[in-house]
Symmetry: C2
Subunit: 504 residues, 2 copies
């Protein structure tokens, strides 16, 4: 069975490595519905922990959850011009509301149950929500309205990949309404900061934070902020976006309010979201050739205890020691949640099989408890992230040592990912060097270069190199990044370096 | 504004009372999508608390969450014969995957993007899940498989009502796989017991527990268990179901496993679910002419503090006292969760308006803090459920007193609902009395009567009286209920009394 646990190495084929890891580590699976995934219990647990972390941060900043309909009348899409161009096209269309039995075909669509107006399955909910907000908002006293929704959405993707791009995915979408432009701007930045903190503090993934170019912004937004992570194959991955929608949707759906001065004005809006794509970014940031390496804060299993011994008497001792340790861990917590600890006492599997199994599935720390360890009073403790093994006293302090180790691992995983990003961020000043950086299939990481600010140049660069502008940094990585220069493509004046990369 | 808070009384028009309460207490709203609701933040909070309680119980009994696709290929429905008859008909059908711009109509369905096989939006997920389980289950070692999903589902309902019957609703659906009939039976009963406990201990709603008749069981089940609650207008409301599916779905989707003896057999299955309908049942069980009365364990706001006083100096004192009390409550918990406490210090609203507002929205306990109360060192504490007001010392014990009061209210609400059910459960032995009980629009509560066990009689009774068999009780309410008798309609032998009612 051990061979079942093996996956292609990253060096061999990075893409196969990712695909095999996701399936073999039981995170997700392909479904029989084209482009849609099944999120398996092990992967869904990661999503639940992500939800928990994000939801607490949303609530701490005054947001409430609500739920809006899955279906959107087709006509709503046409109301916001930029939005329909960017979003409405590839989507699931509901045209009928009944099936009927057929003696030959079994079950067929009932032609008499054709809808007068078709619905689409939400690709995002701005239109249905702003159509609702029209009834909820009359006065400045109804503002701000700070609402989030956890939901499934659907975009009919042609080329899909588990977690990274699927036709259906799970996400949260925030939709807020404000009395002024500045309040909406503050909200967009509050959320951007939550996303950055979540990536860094929960996922142990450093992210670049900044503004999207006009060409990459959300369809219908005034401007879009994003967080961008780096994968081990040196591509950018957009991990979250926060949009200032201006008054665009309020005007499209006629949402006006009475100001304190008694005037009427259109409401300002934001929307923002992260999705199950975060799990893809997490895997790409930390995992290795043995399998999944989640940071402990998001690991479904933080500590696995493996009692050993061949005969029943020995096993009863090692299982007993494991059980006691698990009980001691039950009174501890990490990051405010109970420690997630499992005893693997399957009798029919070898220790070697179990080690491989838990490396594949990403248990943060493995404690082996063998008969000789019990005699010596020390047990081997193995870190998933580094593979380092150390011997630790098996006494009443062990549970505390393990909890401290989780915190250490979380920190060190972040620091390693940050060092990796720093090592793979380069500055380029000539078109020759720029082209060379992006030549071939391999990606160079983040390339900071000057750009003249025009859509034309952005398109030209993308066409020739497949590199896109990931963001205009909110905070320069180095002071000189914020200084003016000359566009790497056209030589025209540039206000600051921007971040280029090949992206997922 | 006070008039905005008024709703029709139950006596005046029970149906209007319910509809107005749901909307005015900001629990849910109608949407522009026919039959679909918007769950507003106040109502969604109730659902989040329900999810929390149920999810913990599912996890404590070994279940994990996962996620399966929203769309189901049309052909899957035809695979389980009974299932397709019961379920497949009224559902949303996806036939196309693209829209396109049209100079005249704006946006139209692209006729070239017609799907080869249509999809339906899941009305329930047995078919897609059992199609997946075929790949997950090979051996008895893969069993039991205990999975739950929190999801949205859709059934194209013609007559809808907020929470009680909507085209789209939120629910959890468990889908488990077992090696033997008996293990599946034990699972179905474990879940039935969780549903009963949740209704009683969280919702403070007593439920009848039992087996559905053949005519009322789930389409595709071997047998169906249910919990049935009683509304204030004396109708039954099915609040949860747990199905033993036998080998029906395993056979339909060819899910076989190797037994410990090396043979092959089809897997046994259960499925079970509760939905946002629970919120409807909750409202119908406890609320009154002033508005929403959730039990404290599910109340979005358990304690509201209302500081009073007309001038700034007085207000600063009462707001200060409220703030201190809120801080003291922050260190307390009820049922393992932090106390949900709010200070209503809106300056522009009168105390009377606030009292009405929080009665409508269902804050369990209201504490008024006025200048004279501060002087006297006692504050009025008002219970939402009974309206009783008492004076309580404003000292360091107050927060503890309030927490104890929440527990008392939870208990008393359950006891009152139980007494109400007992008072509205009758036994009837003649057809004349049975008919009389169900005459007119009003419902008589639960009617226990003998039935000959045939579908024909069940249908006849339903036709003449609109009464349906709610369940065959798992445990008789009185010993004599389990004794044989004669069918109230046909006079043929009956094994036990069964529960009849008019139902939502």
């Amino acid at each position: 069975m051990a061979s079942d646990l093996g996956i292609t190495s990253r060096a061999e084929n990075y893409s196969d490595w990712y695909n095999e890891l996701v399936v073999k580590a039981n995170l997700a699976d392909h479904s029989s519905v084209r482009g849609c995934m099944v999120i398996k219990p092990h992967g869904y647990r990661v999503w639940e922990l992500m939800q928990r972390g994000l939801d607490d941060m949303f609530k701490d900043t005054g947001h409430s959850n609500a739920y809006f309909p899955l279906l959107i009348p087709k006509s709503y899409l046409a109301k916001e011009a930029a939005h329909v161009d960017g979003f409405a096209k590839e989507c699931a269309v509901v045209t009928h509301y009944r099936l009927k039995s057929d003696p030959v075909a079994g079950v067929v669509v009932d032609p008499e149950a054709k809808l007068e107006e078709e619905f689409i399955i939400r690709p995002t909910s701005e239109t249905i929500i702003w159509n609702t907000y029209r009834n909820w908002i009359q006065s400045y006293r109804d503002l701000p309205l700070l609402i989030n929704q956890w939901a499934n959405v659907m975009r009919w993707e042609m080329r899909t990949r588990l977690f990274l791009r699927t036709s259906e995915f799970l996400w949260q979408e925030g939709h807020t309404a404000h009395a002024t432009y500045d309040e909406a701007e503050a909200e967009a930045l509050t959320i951007l900061n939550i996303y950055r903190r979540f990536a860094e503090e929960w996922m142990a993934v450093p992210v670049l934070v900044g503004l999207k170019s006009e060409g990459e912004k959300f369809a219908g937004a005034d401007h879009t902020y994003c967080i961008e992570a780096l994968t081990q194959d040196l591509r950018a991955i957009q991990a979250g976006t926060s949009h200032h929608l201006g008054q665009n949707f309020a005007k499209a759906f006629d949402v006006q309010f009475q100001t304190p001065e008694g005037k009427r004005d259109y409401v300002y809006a934001t929307s923002w979201g992260v999705s199950t794509r975060l799990i893809g970014a997490l895997i790409m940031a930390h995992s290795d050739d043995k399998g999944f390496v989640p940071p402990p804060r998001l690991a479904p299993v933080q500590i696995v205890l493996i009692p050993m011994g061949r005969d029943a008497e020995t096993r009863s001792k090692t299982v007993g020691a494991a059980t006691r340790l698990k009980e001691e861990l039950a009174s501890k917590s990490a990051w405010g949640l109970p420690i997630r600890v499992t005893i693997d006492d399957r009798e029919k599997e070898s220790p070697g099989f179990k080690f491989n199994h838990w490396e594949l599935h990403g248990a943060t720390v493995r404690v082996e408890i063998g008969p000789r360890d019990l005699e010596n009073g020390v047990v081997p403790v193995c870190r998933r992230d580094t593979g380092n093994k150390s011997s630790v006293q098996l006494d009443e302090n062990l549970s505390g040592v393990l909890v401290d180790l989780l915190e250490t691992i979380q920190q060190e995983m972040y620091q390693r990912a940050l060092a990796f990003r720093t090592a793979n961020t380069v500055r380029v000043d000539t078109w020759e060097d720029f082209r060379a950086a992006f030549e071939g299939e391999d990606a160079p990481g983040f390339v900071l270069a000057h750009w003249d600010g025009t859509q034309e140049t952005e398109d030209l660069i993308a066409e020739e190199t497949k590199a896109t502008i990931r963001c205009l940094l909110s905070h320069p990585l180095e002071e000189s990044d914020a200084l003016p220069g000359k566009c790497v493509k056209t030589g025209k004046p540039s206000r600051q370096r921007v971040v280029f990369a090949k992206a997922y």
